[in-house]
Amino acid sequence: MGKLSKRVAIVGAGMSQFGKLFPLKRNPDLWVDAWLNAVKTVDNGIEPKNIDACYIGNYSSDLFNHQGHLAPQMANLVGLSPKPASRFEGACASSGVALRQGILAIASGIHDVIAVGGCETMNEVSTTLVTDTLATASDNLFEYPAGATFPGLYAAVASAHFHEYGTTAEDLMRIGIKNHENGTQNPFAQMQISIKDLMNNKLSKLKKEGKDLPDWKDEFDFLKSSSNPMIASPLRLFDCSLVTDGAACVFLAAEEVARQFTDTPIWITGTGQGSAALSLHDRDSLTSFIATKEAARQAYQMANLNPKDIQIAELHDCFTIAELVAMEDLDFYEKGKAVDAVRNGETKLDGRFPLNTSGGLKSKGHPVGATGAAQAVEIFKQMRGIAERNRQVKFDVEKALTHNLGGSGATCVVTIYQK
């Protein structure tokens, strides 16, 4: 029970540029870009004839692009027809689910090598339609009529967390500042700019326009100003992840064949998945996600590791509060104590326990169906020591984790990676 019947490795991983790329790039273009970048990382090369199946995570191409039935199209574009191609949907955890299903299919013995990917092109529709489409991942009958939006649901979680543990809006701002700082070092990120530079740009613009300059002492003052509108209290614009077009691709291989592709495979030693009621109001806790706790429990048990063994992690920071709650739900910190780590800076790139070195969903971007696979791409790069610019952590990463959350926490996939 709870063990893979054989080891599964990542032998290559890459992502497309993330950004507001439509119409220049659509799902087919982004996916091929991600595929080509992933192929480049396979030491001994990989070709379609080596690959048995294609698993694609995508949340809602139906509503974003009026295109369903995505997987055979994506498989065909990289030369995988007539091999099996399937699409997986778990809201923002779609490609986390695809990754897990790829792992399970290889462990079952039915396939040896699988191309797992994710893609989403969100900018084809207006911001209003993006909000409404994302809202379909919440409860349409009982939450939406109450005015729930995604920022609103996570904001409600934040309100309860603030009330129970004394967390503040400023604590959440620290998470956004950190992730933007990391994103400056990721050439694939949508916003490769720090909050401080965003503030300075705003000041220069106001100066040029001859307007009164606000009295901002630091980026916190900027983040508390009307330049950072309150989307859903207590979450402001820079607490929210981005509306992004992008794709990612990961090659999974069974242990018997992994070394055909590389001498340094990254092993997946733990996978877990959990679920919860779709509606926040149907859950026992408003400050913790039970799906995360369940997924984490399975993954730690399978890998035979403790939370304190993990050296770096990519967490699903769709909103700043989500990173904080994940730090607690994954048992990296006691409930209500993660905020201390946020305040003392230990989760920064040069800290003891770097989180979201990629820039996270906040700065790298959040093409919802691609996010889970893109998290695996970042971990692959960090463990191989090939993270771009100055983003490579300063120690050898032997154990890492990704956390991919769907909806307001109704689906969660946790994956553990080891050298």
Binding site: A148, H163, P229, S279
Partner: protein
């Protein structure tokens, strides 16, 4: 139709809501209460449930004053400058439910306190001559 003859469907719950009744279902075997109503008690696996009318009283458990709202809310005139309050309410009978919270200062969320006592307020929207009732709450 007698209340206990009505099937425990989503539609039944919504029909009750349209007639301004907040209804739940209670398990006759273990006493668990569900709002919205459920046909299957997922606590003890029983299908022996009955309708109960909720008092509509509860406490504010979580909330957000939303500036960038759902389309049907922006159609009502809500905006960044005129936010509405989405809330999760813990009903006195135990279950939690979502609803719009009115009668609070949405522009100053810091004045809204978790734990505040609230009571149900059925909110009417005119949809081209037809009235739709949504679940809402207001401070008690």
């Amino acid at each position: 139709m007698l209340e206990n003859e009505k099937d425990f469907t989503m539609e039944s719950y919504l029909e009750y809501l349209q007639s301004k009744k907040l209804m739940g279902s209670k398990c006759r075997d273990c006493g668990e209460i569900y709002v919205p109503s459920r046909k299957l008690c997922t606590k003890c696996n029983s299908t022996n449930l009955e309708w109960i009318r909720m008092s509509g009283n509860g406490k504010l458990a979580a909330f957000s004053c939303i500036g960038v709202g759902a389309t049907f809310m922006t159609d009502k005139g809500y905006s960044l400058k005129n936010p509405y309050c989405f809330s999760v309410i813990k009903l006195d009978e135990g279950p939690m439910i979502s609803g719009q919270l009115i009668g609070v200062d949405e522009k100053h969320p810091e004045t809204i306190k978790i734990g505040t006592s609230v009571k149900v307020k059925f909110l009417e929207t005119d949809l081209k001559g037809e009235t739709r009732v949504d679940l809402g709450f207001e401070p008690a």
